[in-house]
């Protein structure tokens, strides 16, 4: 018998991991908003600098004719994180409300599987930062949104990890 009450101090293992996963998920969802609003990269070249948000980056890639790369970045930084966050939220709420949903474990496995791809932006920035260092002429530096995105990814990973614990302990 599972104890569903939040007020009660006596939580089962499942409840603990559910609360952890839920708080990680909500925090990730909230942080994902400014991660999209703020610039994730500052490019400085030839005396001028440009701050780029994720959406700006996708747009300029697309307009530059690199629609393949644009699609990959769009998938990695918008579709996958949103899908991940929503499915985590969905898994947790259905579990919490004890709604029968058979595909839950496979959905979680999917979330776990695609999770690694959502770090792409952070990878991109770190590669750019490492590659483009020409002193005053051209430099790329990571901006606040890339840190936020990193935190979002870590939080979703922790959330799915907490959920996995919960499923492992369930018979």
């Amino acid at each position: 018998m599972k104890n569903k009450s939040l007020i009660s101090i006596k939580f089962s293992h499942t409840d603990h991991s559910l609360i952890r996963a839920l708080s990680f998920t909500i925090a990730a969802m909230v942080l994902y908003i400014p991660a999209n609003l703020y610039p994730f990269m500052t490019m400085k070249y030839a005396g001028q600098y440009q701050k780029t948000t994720i959406w700006d980056g996708i747009k300029s890639l697309y307009e530059g004719g690199m629609w393949g790369t644009a699609t990959i970045v769009f998938m990695a930084s918008i579709i996958i994180p949103v899908f991940k966050l929503l499915s985590l939220f969905f898994i947790i709420t259905t579990e919490y409300l004890n709604i029968a949903f058979n595909a839950r474990t496979s959905l979680l496995a999917l979330v776990d599987f695609i999770g690694r791809w959502s770090m792409l932006d952070v990878f991109l920035v770190s590669i750019m930062v490492a590659l483009i260092k020409f002193g005053d002429f051209a430099t790329v530096s990571a901006d606040i949104a890339s840190y936020l995105l990193g935190i979002v990814v870590i939080m979703t990973m922790l959330a799915s990890a907490s959920l996995s614990v919960c499923y492992r302990e369930e018979p």
Binding site: H13, I19, R20, A27, A46, Q50
Partner: protein
């Protein structure tokens, strides 16, 4: 119990992250820029999402879009100016495009070669407005804010254009700012800016003469004679100042002088 403490810690960390995220979103919402629309006659050289609006070298906004006005067929630049700067931009503010100029006549704004063309603004406080009409050229007034501004009345502006040099003993002491016809349309009023350092060169008794281009005179007795001042005045035109003596009172802002005719100038030189 340890499980509970861990959950509580995670919950606190997440709560902090949530507060942080909400405050970041709120400050973004509060500081998001205001959109303004500036119409120009020509926006060549500006790039959306890259060109900036600058004031005294400080970026106060960015161009986000450029479109053509269907009615007037003039380009309209959509720019986003930062919230903090938007209080300075009243409806009378002046916008103009700064482009590098590299010609025999003048070398200006070379910085824009590296940074790209940008829009400069002369912010004038006042009621905020969404639409502006950009200037065709930069208001030179700013550059010579402390200098002397005088007018020269001339029957013709032949060879002289905005930016032409004003020379004294063949040293440039200023330049032509504006030119327009007088009210009765009989004369050209040339506004010249004299550099701050050379203010006292212009006296009440100064003469001005047009030395643009070259002058050829063919005389039956003395033969032909061609005089050419400098390549720069040949291309961009120029006005020379002659101040016979430095005893006269210095010219004041807004004084009007009359340009010597070619004959008068020649006579003066021969003396």
């Amino acid at each position: 119990m340890r499980n509970l403490i861990l959950t509580l810690m995670i919950w606190i960390i997440c709560f902090t992250a949530i507060t942080f995220g909400i405050s970041l979103t709120y400050s973004w919402y509060k500081n998001r820029g205001k959109d303004i629309y500036i119409s120009f006659k020509d926006v060549a050289g500006l790039i959306p999402n890259q060109s900036k609006i600058m004031y005294l070298g400080v970026e106060i906004g960015k161009i986000i879009d450029m479109q053509l006005n269907e009615a007037t067929k003039l380009p309209i630049v959509k720019a986003r100016i930062s919230r903090r700067s938007s209080t300075m931009i009243g409806k009378n503010s002046e916008f103009w495009i700064v482009r590098p100029e590299l010609s025999l006549g003048s070398v200006r704004n070379l910085g824009a070669i590296a940074t790209g063309d940008y829009i400069a603004v002369n912010p004038i406080k006042g009621e905020f407005s969404k639409t502006f009409i950009g200037l065709d050229a930069d208001p030179v007034d700013d550059q010579f804010e402390n200098g002397l501004k005088i007018f020269i009345k001339s029957s013709t502006a032949s060879g002289i254009e905005v930016g032409s040099a004003v020379l004294f003993r063949d040293v440039q002491i200023g330049e032509v700012g504006h030119m327009n016809l007088s009210k009765d349309r009989n004369n050209v009023i040339i506004k010249i800016y004299v550099d701050d350092a050379y203010n006292n060169v212009i006296r009440k008794n100064s003469y001005f003469a047009n030395i643009s281009g070259f002058h050829a005179s063919i005389n039956l007795f003395s033969g032909s004679e061609i005089s050419l001042n400098s390549i720069r005045t040949l291309i961009k035109g120029g006005i020379t100042v002659i101040t016979p003596n430095m005893n006269s009172a210095p010219a004041k802002n807004g004084d009007t002088f009359t340009m010597l005719t070619q004959e008068q100038f020649q006579a003066l030189q021969n003396n």
